[in-house]
Symmetry: C2
Amino acid sequence: MTAAPRMRANPPRQQRGLRRGSLTKEIIVSESMRLLDEDGADGFSMPKLGRALGADQTAVYRHFASKDDLLLAIADRLIEEAMAGLERLDCWVGTLTEMCRRLRLTYLAHPAAASMSACRTTQGPAEIRAVDIIIGAILEAGFEGAEAARMYRAIGDFSLAWAGGEAAFLALDRSAQQRDRAAWRQAYLSVSREAHPNIWQVRAELPEVRDDDIFESILSVVMAGLRQQARRPCACHAPAISQPPPGGRRS
Amino acid sequence: MTAAPRMRANPPRQQRGLRRGSLTKEIIVSESMRLLDEDGADGFSMPKLGRALGADQTAVYRHFASKDDLLLAIADRLIEEAMAGLERLDCWVGTLTEMCRRLRLTYLAHPAAASMSACRTTQGPAEIRAVDIIIGAILEAGFEGAEAARMYRAIGDFSLAWAGGEAAFLALDRSAQQRDRAAWRQAYLSVSREAHPNIWQVRAELPEVRDDDIFESILSVVMAGLRQQARRPCACHAPAISQPPPGGRRS
DNA sequence: CCAGTTTGTCCAAGCCATTGACAACGACTC
DNA sequence: GAGTCGTTGTCAATGGCTTGGACAAACTGG
């Protein structure tokens, strides 16, 4: 027992676990997302992740310094997935619309992962590339200098915030989600005409609104506003969605 | 706020803990928000909350069935605080703008609390009242039926998502926040002109953008888009926020 | 063949959420 | 006033979590 030279006698320890090199960052991130998709954010822990990998509860710490570190890697993977194969389109409105839709779809596909990492920035190459494309569209719209910088942040943060918000709701456990939806349904229908006349007026339509339609509505509103404030129209034809402004600034 | 835990100077003996009735839901929620504002979301735990109240680590469980239950109460308090004293304005654009600004300011004042509860709905009276006011503005804009319902959800969810997203970032610990900002600054400045020409073009302006300006930009874009899609103009004169009105559209 | 580094495992410390048993206290009945 | 009961604060305990340190197997370079 004194220290030292290998007492290789007979400890049947035998390392029942994995072989060296079985775990890589890529594998760990993939398994994390699988677990998150399956069990939600609450059930996600380092011990469970290790066991799911067939390894020790603490094995992941050999590859990520902390759980937060792993989280950033997951965020990076999400951005990468959302922006895979993205190309700039001819028209700047189309480019921005496409990016917002892509990010949202990816986040909705992995709500638990997204809700944990939506507000983090990773500076990964995918992120930088997306930023360049967005700014390109903003410049194409005729914004310049500080205004362009501000508009990029406005659109980029809008897209992230919206997708993150939707993901956060979907990341709640089924019961809380169901309870929330049911409660609203109930609250809408039982509202009194006197106390809340406006809700009363649309009480029948409120529960029927679908998430996809809500998103397309706000996206359309944002794009309409952008087009109006832009110095240059987009390459595609549609000048505005509903009515043209009487002041006639078609440019 | 009325009943502070009245503590007697020096109880002679026994009285190892608090008197009966020392804790109420209101007091607990207030102390929770104080702790969250001070120490952030990470350092917020039931034991700490109990100790901060001068009570046992588990005392809070006598008033809230679970931490999640407490969370909903905190969310309710936030909405209440945001909407306190809100009145409908003459112009529907002004009403919607005011609500978005109010919610954001409250969330920014309590980022940790907000980031934990932004995606929850509480069905509290304050929330219902806010909903009624928003729908009122949407109806005033001339939207009807299912379209009005959809637009209400679009604007309401937009406001919540944006404020929640900003709060989530501010709720990160100082170091991560600082690191994020610094990293972006660095990434912007060191970007190559060839690889990312668009970022390069605004690299100097990007780090200077302020959060308040970003918010006002997206808000202005959304309101411009809404005005364009609305069936009726708002009561106030301004036809658009950003550009100077050359010839005011009449009320 | 050996030394050094990686990486997987074991073990343990310290924190957390939550629960059940117990005890003091207030209200209510007789 | 005495007894009963529900409320609420405390205590002790359980099981899970993150994380760090010690050890050992396996791969690497010499």
